[in-house]
Symmetry: C2
Amino acid sequence: MPRRLLPLLAPLLAAAAANAGTPLGFHPASHEAQKPAEKAFLETPTPDQARRWLAALTEEPHVAGTPQEKRVADYVTERFREMGLETEVVRYDVFLNHPKSVSLKITAPFEESLALREEPYDVDKDSASLGMFPAFHGYGASGKAEGPVLYVNYGTREDFEALKGMGLSPEGRIVLVRYDKVFRGLKVKEAQERGARGVLIYSDPADDGYMKGDVYPDGPMRPPSAIQRGSVQFLSLGPGDPTTPGIPSRAGAKRIPREKLDTIPKIPSLPISYAQAEKILRRLGGPRVPDAWQGGLPFAYHAGPGGASVSMDVQMTEGLFPIYDVFARIPGASEPDRWVILGNHRDAWTHGAVDPNSGTAAMLETARGLAAALKTGWRPRRTILLASWDGEEYGLLGSTEWAEDHAEALKNAVAYVNLDAAVTGQDLDAGGVPSLLAVFREVAGEIADPRKGESVLAAWDRRAQADWAKEAPVELGAPDRPFEPRLRALGSGSDYTAFLDHLGVPSLDFTFRGPYGVYHSVYDNLRWMEKYGDPGFAYHAAAARLFGLLAMRLSSADVVPLRYGAYAGTLRQDLDDLRRRAIRLRRTPPPDPLDKPAIQADFTAVLAALDDFEAAGREADEEADRAARTASDTARVNEALLAVERAFLSPEGLPRRSWFRHVLAAPGTTTGYAPWPFPGLTQAIEDRDAKLFEAESRKVVTALGDAARILRGSKVE
Amino acid sequence: MPRRLLPLLAPLLAAAAANAGTPLGFHPASHEAQKPAEKAFLETPTPDQARRWLAALTEEPHVAGTPQEKRVADYVTERFREMGLETEVVRYDVFLNHPKSVSLKITAPFEESLALREEPYDVDKDSASLGMFPAFHGYGASGKAEGPVLYVNYGTREDFEALKGMGLSPEGRIVLVRYDKVFRGLKVKEAQERGARGVLIYSDPADDGYMKGDVYPDGPMRPPSAIQRGSVQFLSLGPGDPTTPGIPSRAGAKRIPREKLDTIPKIPSLPISYAQAEKILRRLGGPRVPDAWQGGLPFAYHAGPGGASVSMDVQMTEGLFPIYDVFARIPGASEPDRWVILGNHRDAWTHGAVDPNSGTAAMLETARGLAAALKTGWRPRRTILLASWDGEEYGLLGSTEWAEDHAEALKNAVAYVNLDAAVTGQDLDAGGVPSLLAVFREVAGEIADPRKGESVLAAWDRRAQADWAKEAPVELGAPDRPFEPRLRALGSGSDYTAFLDHLGVPSLDFTFRGPYGVYHSVYDNLRWMEKYGDPGFAYHAAAARLFGLLAMRLSSADVVPLRYGAYAGTLRQDLDDLRRRAIRLRRTPPPDPLDKPAIQADFTAVLAALDDFEAAGREADEEADRAARTASDTARVNEALLAVERAFLSPEGLPRRSWFRHVLAAPGTTTGYAPWPFPGLTQAIEDRDAKLFEAESRKVVTALGDAARILRGSKVE
C-alpha cells in the first residue's frame, strides 16, 4: 500500500481494526463458524482448471440462438450438476436475427468487393473457424443500400452536429463511422434519424489497432482484417427482447410486431475491418475532417462525399429463437428468499475466450469452490444464485427477461454481482453502487494479486490514486480533498442493467483489464488468452476467488454488508462533474447543437438532500456495526439496509425511457455504455429544459429523502 | 461581435464610448490631427505589393552568415531607403556554424544510407534548390556517433524519466526523438546530460504531417521527406551569441572559448524526415511504448534498443560570421528618446516564405504605409524603429546582440512589437504583456478581417471565448467568472525575448495562423504561401496594417497607451494554473521524477500583492484617461507608465539563468518555447524546493509592490 494512501484510508482501517479481523456485518462467532468454509473455497480455484474450462467453452463459436450455444448451455448445466449443485435451466423465446447473406462492394470509382470475413493465421486454429457467421450486426436490419460514402468519425450526436456545421447531410448517403466512444446501436440510430441509407462501422487502428500496440497474432491488438461484431439495438432506450419491453418473453407473451419496433434499426448496417475501410476512406473527397476525427490510417481523412460509393446487401433471418439461462442455486439456511446473485453471460459472437467465457470459466471455478465450501458443512444464511445468462450480446436478453420474470422476488435481492469479460489483463477495475464499496474492498484486500505479491486491492488503489492525481479537478477555493477510493458508476452494456436500473438491486461489476484489441472478432479465442490475456490463468483464479468470496460474505453476514455512509460522497463527486458540465454549457455562446440557451441549473435542493442522506447513512452504518457486534436487532437493520437502493426507483421512470427507473444511475441516452449519474438531471441539462430539470430534481430529492428515512428506520428509537 | 460577449466587455466598451472614438491616450485634438495620416497609412498596404516583396525576399534560401542572406539584407536596406526612410545597418560578428558534411546510415540489421535532403516536386521550382545546405542543426556539434537506437518520444524531461521507469538508459545510444512540445535544443540537452552519443530529431506525421491534413504539394502539411531544420541552442538558459552572454558581439568583445560553452550541444545531432525515421522506427525492438508516445506511422512503436543501429557523421564549419540588423527610423517629434520598436527577423533556414519573410513582406508594407503617412506631414511624438533582424534562427542573435548593445537607451522604450511568421492562415493569435491588451484590442478592432467582413478583433474574441468555454477550469465554490479576453503569455522562440525578459520592455507578438506543416523545410516557399497560407495575400496586408497602426498609436498618443488595471487579473489566471499544478504534484505520491516530496507552496503573499497591484493599476488607468482627456499632467503620467514593466526585473535574475531577469515572464527551463509565468515560483515548485519558493515569492512580492508604488506615483497627490 503506497505510503501516502495510509492517512486517507484511516477511517476504513480504523473500522477494520475495531472489528479485529471480523468481516463487515459478521458477529465474531458467525465468522468463526464460516472460516473453514472460506478456506476450503479459496483453496479450490486453480489456473489449470480455469484453462480447461475455457478450452471447452470456446471450442466453437456460440452465438445466441444457435445449436452451438445450446451445447455450451448443456455443458455448463452438466458441470453444475457434477459439482452437486441444485441446477435449473430457464428458456425464453426471444426475437433476434442471424445473417442469411451479406455483401458489400465499392461501386465507384470502380467495382471492388469488400471482405466480410477475417484472415486465418496458421498459428491459430480458431482463426479459421468455418462454422462462423459472416460479419453482421445483431438486430441489424435487412435491406439493400447504395450511395456515396460520408465519414462521420465516431457517429456520436456531436459528430453528426459537427457534420451539419460542415454543411453536409447524411441524407441519401452511406455513413461510415468508427467504433468506440458510444454504443454502436446509437451510431446507427443517429444515422437513421438523419436520413442515411445504410451504416458501415469499422475499427480504426487509432482506437484498438496498431496505435495501441502490436497486433494479433504478434500482439494483443486488432489486426487489419479483424471485425467487431455486435448488437445495434438502441440500448439506451431499454435492453431485453425488443418485442416484449418490461415483460418476460415467455411463450404467449404479447409482442410488438417487427415493423413497429423503434428500439432496433430500420436501415441496414455492417461491421467492417480497417483493411476494408481503408479502401473507402483513402478515396474520399470532400473537406478534410476536424483534427479529432482523424484516425490512425496513414493519410489525411476526408469527410466525403465524392471519391467513393458503396453498395451493401444485408439479408437476415429474423424470428423467435430459444435462449437458455442456466442456474446453480445454494439455498439460504435462514433467509432463503433473500438472493445474492452472481451472473455471467455465456453466449459469444465468436469463440469468446475473453468475452464472456473468461467470466464463465471463472464462474465455474467459483462454483467448484462453493461446492467445496458446502462439503465442510457450511450453509449460507441467504440464497446464492449462480446465473449463466444467454443472449447477452443481442441486448442483455437472458438477464433482462429473467429479471422482468422475477421482479417481485427480486425486491428481496441483496445484491447482483456481474462478471462479463473477466480477464483481459492484470489490472482490477470495478464499478458498482457505493453501498457495495466497503465489502468489495474488504474482499479484494484478501485476494492476492498473482503478479505482485500484494492484494488486488492495493494494486487497484495505487492505480486509482495515480489517475485521481492526474485527472480529478482541482478546486482552489477550498483545501484539497484527499483521495477517496470509489467504484466507478455503472452505465450499461452488461447484465447488471436490469437488476440495477430497472429493479434497484445493488449491483457490482468487475474485471481484470489489459491491452485487448480483438473484441468481438474471431481472434477472441483461446490462443489470444494463452499468449496475451492471462498466460498463466492466475487472474482467472483470482477472479473466481473474488467473485465467490463476495457471495459468501454478502450471503452470510449477520447484517448485510451494504453501507451507506460513503454513498453521498460518491454521488457528490458525480454531481460536481454534472455541475461543471452545466457551467461549461452556459459558457458556450449559441449557436450550439440545440440552438437553445443552456439552462441555469439550481442544484441547491439536491445538494441539501445529499447532506441529509449522508448523515442518515453514517448513523445507519454505526447502527449496522453495533447490530453485528452484538447480534441484536439484525432483522430490523437488515430490513432497512435492503430497502434503500429500491427507494431510488421512480415509478414513472426516466424521461422518454420509462423502463429505466433508477434516478441516480443509467446509461447516457447518447452514450449507451457510459453512465449518466443523475440521468434525469443530465437529460434536462443536455436538452436545455429548465422545467424538466425542476421535475427531475424533485424526483431525486424525494428519492434521497426516502432513502434517508429508511436508513433512520434502522435505528433504535 | 458574439451576443454573449457584449455584457462581459462592458467596461472596455464603456471606456471607449466615453472617449467617443478617441483612441486610448489621445487628446481629441491630437487624434484629429493624426487622422489623415492614419488614413494614408491604412490605405497603402496592398496584397499585390506584399506578394511582390515576398517573391523577391524568398528567391534563394538565406541562412544567417551566408552571402545570400547579406543580399537580402541589402535588398531590405534599399527598399527602406527608396521609401525615404532614415536607414541604418548594424553588423555583429557572431559565433555560428554551417554544415561541411553530414551523413547518416543504418548499420544494423543491414546497411542503408538515409537521405538528408528533401524530394523536389515538379510543380514547385523552389523545392529543388541546389544552393541549399543539407539538413543540419544550428549550433549542432561536430562529431561521429554510432550505436543502437532508443526512441524517447518528444525527448522532454518527463519522457526521459519515463524511459528510466522502463528500465532503459540513453547511455551509449543514439536517441531518436520527435519534434514538438519543447524547443529542440532542450531535447539534445536532456539526451546529452543522460549520456547519449548522438540525437536524431524527426517530424512525426501525428504532429504536423498527414494526421493533421493533406500533405504538400497537395496540402499544407508536412510530406514524408520534409525536414525540420533549426537551432539546438539551449535556449531557455539564454539566447544570443553563446560566446558573449549579456554583452554585444562587437569586434573585440571578450568571448567564451568553444570548448567552455555550456549553452550549445557537445554531442552531434541531425534533423530527419519521417520517411527516413520510419526505416529506423519500424525495426526497433524492446518494449512497446506508452500510449502517449505512439506517433502516426502505421505500426506500434517500440522503444528499442535492438532492431536497429545507426551511425552519424556530422562535420561543421564553426566560427565568427557577420550578421546584419537593418533599421528604418522615424524620429519622434517631441520625445525622440522614447522608442516604439517593430521587429521582424529576415534570416531563414530555407526560402522562408512563412518563417520569417511573410513578416518581412508585411513589415515592408508597414514601412511603405508609414512613409505615406509621413508625406501627409505627420510626425510621431516618439521615435518609431523598424528592425529587420538577422541571425534569429540560430538563437535570436541579431535582436539579442542589439538589445544588449542598447540596454541603457532601451530603458526609455515604450514597447517592442514582434512579427515573426506573420501569416500561415487566417486566425489572429497574439501574445504579450497585459498592459498592451487595451491598445491591441483597439487597433485590432479597426482592422477588417479579409475573410469575414468583420474586424480581426471580433473573430479573435469568438475563437478565444470558444476555447475558454471548453478548456478553462471550472470552480464550483464561487459564481462562474465571465470570459476575459487576454493576450497569451510570451515564452521564447522569437525576437521579443531580449526586450521583455532581459530588459523589461513591454512586448507583443502576433500572427495569423492556419494549418502549417512545412516549418523549417524546403517547402516553406512562395508556392506554399500562394496555394495554402494566404492565396490572396490579404492577410499580409492586414498584418501590415495591424503592425503599423499599433506603432502610430503607441508612438503618438499624448499618454502612452499602456494600461495596468487588467494586468493583475491576467497574472491571477496564470497563478491559478500554477496553484493547480502545485496541488496536483502534492496529490501524486512518490516515487516521482525527482523522488522528493512536492512542496506545500503558500501563495498568500503573492495573491495579496496582486490585489494591491490591481487596485493601483485601476487608479492609474483612470488617471491616465483623465490626463489624456484634459491634456494635463501627461509628462508625469507617461514617466510612471513607462517605468512599470521594468520594475518586474530582478537584478540577480532567475534561478540558475541570470540573463533572464523578469520575475513574471520567461520561457520554461524545460520547455524553451512555452512560457512559465512566475518563472521563479514555477522553478521552485518543479524542483520541490521550499526555500527557493520563499525567496522567489519575496522577489515577486517586491516587484509587484514596486510596480504599484510607481503607478500610484502617477496620481495627483
